[in-house]
Symmetry: C2
């Protein structure tokens, strides 16, 4: 896949149209996923302002520090035929953006714009109401194109290759950190540009869903939750969890692991166009609750994924939004027994016309190493 | 050095006092350097709100997603004796913060707070004017404690160890990317937690100050700018640039390298309490301008450094702020001949009562490899 497939030149016009339709005068996109999505430019987040100015009508431009001009020009943004407006060290780039925009009533800020920029824009554009660019971009970003689905599939294959190697790394007597280091290297070796997270949660640490790694020595007979992901060079992210056991697991663990496996299966099976996000969450939750573990499933079922590991749609109670073909998200129920152990199974699932397609396919049964 | 030295428990009270003095009712610190500086907690930036609420008077608290509670409790923030307020997946954490704060007229937002949070806080606290937390924290953050200076010294020694190895890596026939990969590994091996940037700019690429690495093959007789840095596990950052030449450099390069060396020396020598930031910039710029290269020094002389690679004070024309003991910043003039080559020399300098102390000490003469 090339940048042109993943970040098509036509996207900018579609974004302008959506901006106009939403009643915004312009989007102001500083470095981060919104800027990358619209332009393909993976700009470094810096204190010097880089901003893609996307008016609802008229010519977009990219305001960049002169030092970053070569990087911006070398990026996929150069295909868009827009003007690069370079500013020098003692210029005020916020005034520069304001002058280009003229009179505006409502602007959309990149969801991750830093306060140091959003407050400067508030002052430089005193009449303009600020809303999130996400209000315009979310619909577009949620609905993955075939090229984006292919990129997520490639990310899924890359992280699956790492999970297949986990049994090599995971042994009683090693610390979580040692195992995590091997996994991090394997994530890069599998073709990721960055290691975004490595959770190796052994024994009681498995009961903390966002445990990282620690110096705890893994013991025989312990379940270990391994939740790992990274970002490919093309920007798309991987995220998959499998639970392993170092030798035979405790009886109380074995009792709920199969419940969890069925819950994850049920949620994946519930995915199809028109079904609400919260009903996918409920599909997993109901299985777990019926088995008496409802109080031990303490987080939402999933999150959207794309050029961010966590993005919309969120698979959570209260989100009545219907799934559409192209929506891609994690399905990752878990059961956590404080002080004892925990388990989670996570696949990335893309909604297709025919239901959910999982982009991970390593075994979901408990892997005993 | 322990967390208690670098992130002392007493800092929170000092920050509350400064908040009151600045006429703010509270600081709202989301994950990033401001939160870490005040609490020692290196929280992951996530879409789920983590926020240290620091009222000008009264009890601070840390609002955290329940999933992050174990991480927050395991962090140095647990020493502060503040309440951790955990919120659940379907709670509104912004309303929760607003309820804790009560009536407020002016709040300071972490400089890097994402718009997705700052706009939610705007709506949850409709009467409150938003300003940057930096307006309160900048003075404190700029003035490094002895422990912080020691941490920056440790970072300087770590990156110096990498520069000493660069001659092993840099050879004609290798690509910038290959050399960069070796340097990145060496940055981690020298004790950094992360590799923040690796610039290997050979020949004409050296004329772009923020060049990264490329697949360009380094040729004999070419100057190469190597600008590298990372973050130690304790949070403090390194940043040092040296310029190398692969064999004898071209005559036009040799002509200006010595000018640059003198300019960097002059700027370092200008550092002492009471001297303005812009006069340190001028000290370097004047030497370069007098030699006829003024038009080729296209960026500011430096930036502050601490738990961010770029922070205040900025060593730039227009910044009349006087230096104080404990201010730490880069001194990094450069000369860039478009299409030809470039050079930069960068040390981190800390202002002491007796003048500037450089925290890097590898040779500043051109290193011919």
């Amino acid at each position: 896949m090339t940048s042109s497939d993943l970040y098509p030149v036509s996207r900018l016009a579609a974004v302008q149209e959506a901006t106009a339709k939403a009643g915004l005068d312009a989007l102001l996109l500083t470095p981060g996923p919104d800027l990358r999505y619209v332009s393909g430019y993976d700009a470094k987040p810096l204190e010097r302002l880089t901003c893609l100015v996307v008016p609802a009508s008229g010519e977009p431009c990219m305001v960049v520090p002169r030092l970053e001009l070569p990087a911006a020009e070398a990026s996929p943004a150069s295909r868009l035929g827009l003007e690069f407006v370079a500013w020098d060290e003692t210029d005020d780039p916020y005034a520069l953006v304001a002058a280009r925009l003229g009179r505006v009533a409502k602007v959309g800020l990149a969801d991750r714009m830093w306060a140091m920029s959003s407050l400067r824009f508030r002052d430089a554009l005193p009449g303009a109401e600020q809303v999130l660019a996400g209000s315009v971009l979310r619909e577009l970003r949620m609905r993955k194109s075939p090229a984006e689905v292919a990129a997520l599939r490639e990310a899924g294959e890359a992280i699956d290759a790492v999970h297949r190697r986990v049994p090599e790394f995971l042994r009683a007597g090693r610390t979580e950190r040692e195992v995590g280091r091997d996994i991090a290297e394997a994530i890069l070796a599998a073709g990721h540009a960055t290691v975004d997270f490595v959770i190796v949660a052994s024994g009681p640490n498995g009961a903390s869903p966002h445990h990282d790694v620690s110096d705890r020595v893994i013991q025989a007979g312990e379940p270990v939750v391994v939740d790992i992901g990274g970002q490919l060079h093309n920007g798309y992210c991987s995220d998959s969890t499998r639970t392993y056991s170092v030798g035979e697991p405790p009886a109380d663990f074995a009792a709920y692991y199969e419940v969890l496996r069925r819950a994850q299966e049920a949620a994946c099976a519930a995915v199809r166009p028109g079904v609400s996000c919260e009903s996918v969450d409920a599909a997993a939750r109901d299985v777990i609750a019926e088995a008496g573990y409802g109080g031990y499933f303490i987080h939402r079922t999933g999150h959207g994924i794309g050029i961010e590991t966590h993005e919309e749609p969120y698979i959570v109670a209260g989100n009545g939004e219907p799934l559409e073909p192209g929506h891609a998200f994690s399905v990752e129920p878990g059961i956590y027994l404080p002080g004892r152990h925990g388990a989670r199974i996570e696949d990335i699932v893309v909604c297709t016309e025919n239901g959910g397609e999982r982009l991970n396919d390593t075994p979901r049964e408990l892997v005993i190493v």
